[in-house]
């Protein structure tokens, strides 16, 4: 984290959070100021990570509005996808309305390589919690996550090569198309010249569980198979948390690298970026591939958590939902997207129902609030655009832009 700190310089907006600490007692404030800069920057994230890590231990004693551990797993998976999408939309400025395709690709990779789907073969490699005689391909979920990431990244490249030549709206429309094609393909993939690839509308279920195997269970007490463990949700939660942190870490590192600079340059001005020696196609395709990589991992992990991959999970509205998370959190801002993602996923999973219940109790009339979920998200986005258009935690660049109102990007190439 050394370079970006220096690059940010010592301008008045260099450390936006620090002027707001006036509420601290002077002694505490002075002690805080004495801490070296890198330490100060790490305190808040570390505290949050520690709180998050122990969440399953104190979740029971929290008020009812807090999400359960199982819900948190889903929230985190969606947030992971949002962080992946943020690389494409937030960093590189490529509007992708078909991100759900990557989610599906990841989920089905897990379904193919860790289930009974291909009964023609029997292949086991590090699988846990199932009989060694079970038919189908059964590869360790830990490996599957990597395979799913790689497979989805390749899918991202294949989708990217023909589409990334397009700009702006055209790209959005074509990605929208791909987002529709993949679920359709999945739905109808149960008879490809007589071969059942996706099991059609029924989906593929069950999918093997992650786990550490019986040897490690006996030795240090970690569960052999998460699904069969008493603390199922908690283990899925810790793994999800680890995956999210890894995604965030990679995302931040990439942002502050040569590649990240190239993405932002393309977002700012494609023509100028090309003139600076940035290969447009290759750089954009990398954004796609890396965004897809994390989407694929998240998809595969969600599939193993639910123990199934079903075509009904991969509708267009998922793409929009993920995009809402990115916009709500702040395009290009990793921490913003994490907050936006957790918040919207919470509303979707539990929040709306809970708010609905309280509201219904209050007015004494039953109202099904979750039914209006997309209305609520739409309202949230509209309010955001009105009052805080750069997102909950804006990327520092965009904050600047809005404060000054100096964005003069031309809609067409005017250099000719």
């Amino acid at each position: 984290m050394k370079l970006p700190t220096r690059m940010r310089g010592k301008g008045p907006d260099a450390h936006p959070g620090e002027d707001t600490r006036g509420w601290l007692p002077p002694q505490v404030r002075a002690a805080w100021e004495r801490l070296p800069e890198p330490v100060r920057r790490l305190v808040l994230p570390l505290a949050l990570v520690v709180l998050a890590f122990f969440y399953p231990k104190y979740a029971e004693s929290l008020p009812g509005a807090f999400p359960g551990v199982g819900t948190l797993v889903i929230m985190i998976v969606f947030t992971m996808m949002a962080v992946g999408l943020n690389i494409v939309v937030g960093y590189a400025g490529l509007l992708d309305l078909g991100y759900v395709a990557f989610y599906a690709a990841g989920a089905y990779t897990a379904a193919w390589f860790a289930s009974l789907q291909f009964e023609q073969v029997t292949f086991h490699f590090g699988s846990v919690g199932i009989s060694q005689e079970a038919v189908g391909i059964h590869i360790s979920i830990w490996l599957i996550l990597l395979i799913a990431g790689a497979f989805t990244a390749i899918a991202g490249i294949l989708i990217g090569l023909p589409t990334l030549r397009l700009r702006g709206d055209y790209l959005a429309i074509v990605t929208l198309g791909f987002g529709e094609i993949i679920p359709q393909f999945v739905r109808n993939g149960d008879n490809i010249f007589g071969f059942d690839l996706t099991h059609g509308t029924f989906g593929i279920s069950p999918i093997d569980s992650p786990g550490f195997g019986t040897t490690l269970e006996d030795a240090i007490g970690v569960p052999a198979s998460f699904q069969q463990s008493f603390d199922r949700a908690q283990w899925f939660y810790w793994t999800a948390l680890g995956l999210l942190l890894l995604t965030v870490f990679c995302s931040v590192r990439l942002r502050d690298s040569r590649l990240g600079r190239a993405w932002i340059a393309i977002r700012e001005d494609e023509t100028a970026a090309a003139a600076m020696g940035i290969p447009l196609m290759r750089t954009k395709t990398w954004a796609y591939a890396i965004g897809a990589f994390f989407g694929g991992i998240a998809g595969a992990y969600y599939a193993t958590f639910k123990s199934g991959a079903f075509p009904s999970d991969f509708f267009f509205n998922v793409s929009i939902f993920l995009l809402c998370m990115v916009i709500l959190g702040g395009m290009g801002s990793v921490w913003g997207v994490v907050v936006g993602g957790l918040f919207l996923a919470y509303l979707d999973q539990e929040g709306l129902a809970k708010i609905g219940n309280s509201f219904s109790d209050l007015i004494g009339k039953q109202i099904d609030v979750p039914k209006y979920n997309f209305g609520v998200y739409g309202l949230i986005i509209v309010l955001m655009m009105l009052f805080r258009p750069t997102g909950l935690i804006p990327e520092r660049r965009r904050k600047k832009e809005l404060a000054e109102g100096v964005h003069d990007e031309s809609l067409y190439d005017v250099s000719g």
């Binding site: 023509t271 600076m276 940035i278 660049r397």
Partner: protein, 264 residues
Amino acid sequence: MANEPKDLLLDAGRVRKEFGGLVATDDVDFTIPRGSIVSLIGPNGAGKTTFFNMLTGVYRPTAGSIVFDGIDITGKPPHAITKLGIGRTFQNIRLFAQMTALENVLVGMHARLHSGILGAIVRGPGTRREEREATEKARELLRYSGLKSRHGEYASSLPYGDQRRLEVARALATGPKLILLDEPTAGMNPQETANFIDFVAKLRDDRGLTVLLIEHDMKVVMGVSDRVTVLEYGEKIAEGTPQEVQRDDRVIEAYLGKGATEHA
């Protein structure tokens, strides 16, 4: 000039560009000797920027060939041409507005740096050294271009003249042999223009760069250019030393209109 006439850094032969029925540049021959400052001038709409965009790969010529430093670059993509050693600025400033001055220059170095995705994530000693050296070099370029104290400021918040300088610094960062400046003094007052022209001369003298200047204002380039080429309606109407060009009847006509030659 001490250069031998044969040592051409850029050799464009019969370059033609048509947009539909419009001929923007009509079989233009154009050469740039190594180490010289060459200017391309002409009234607005003469095809200067079109020509420029063909040299930098933004447009593919309809016909003709462009050879740079012994390599045929006709129709190559912009990033490949930049990598071979042609840096450019834009007529209407095209900085990365939401990046700092330093970051703008670092983007310019893209083709000269090597770290990839794994390097970015792991950030091993090689990547860190590369970034450190690149940052150091970028600071030096900013100093050289007269933006010493401005490295942390966003490009969009710089004053106009500094934005022009930053564009040059960014172009220098691409490690060019030839730098193309597209109307770099547009919008500058006479004093700023004079300073900038001195800076251009310095680029050649200190850094050994070859410079191609595009201008519609003839006066700007007269003092500094070794050779001047004049375009009008996509055709080359004159070429030579600034003095020769200034006396050319067709040039005077192009700039001042028909009849000007008779009264002159």
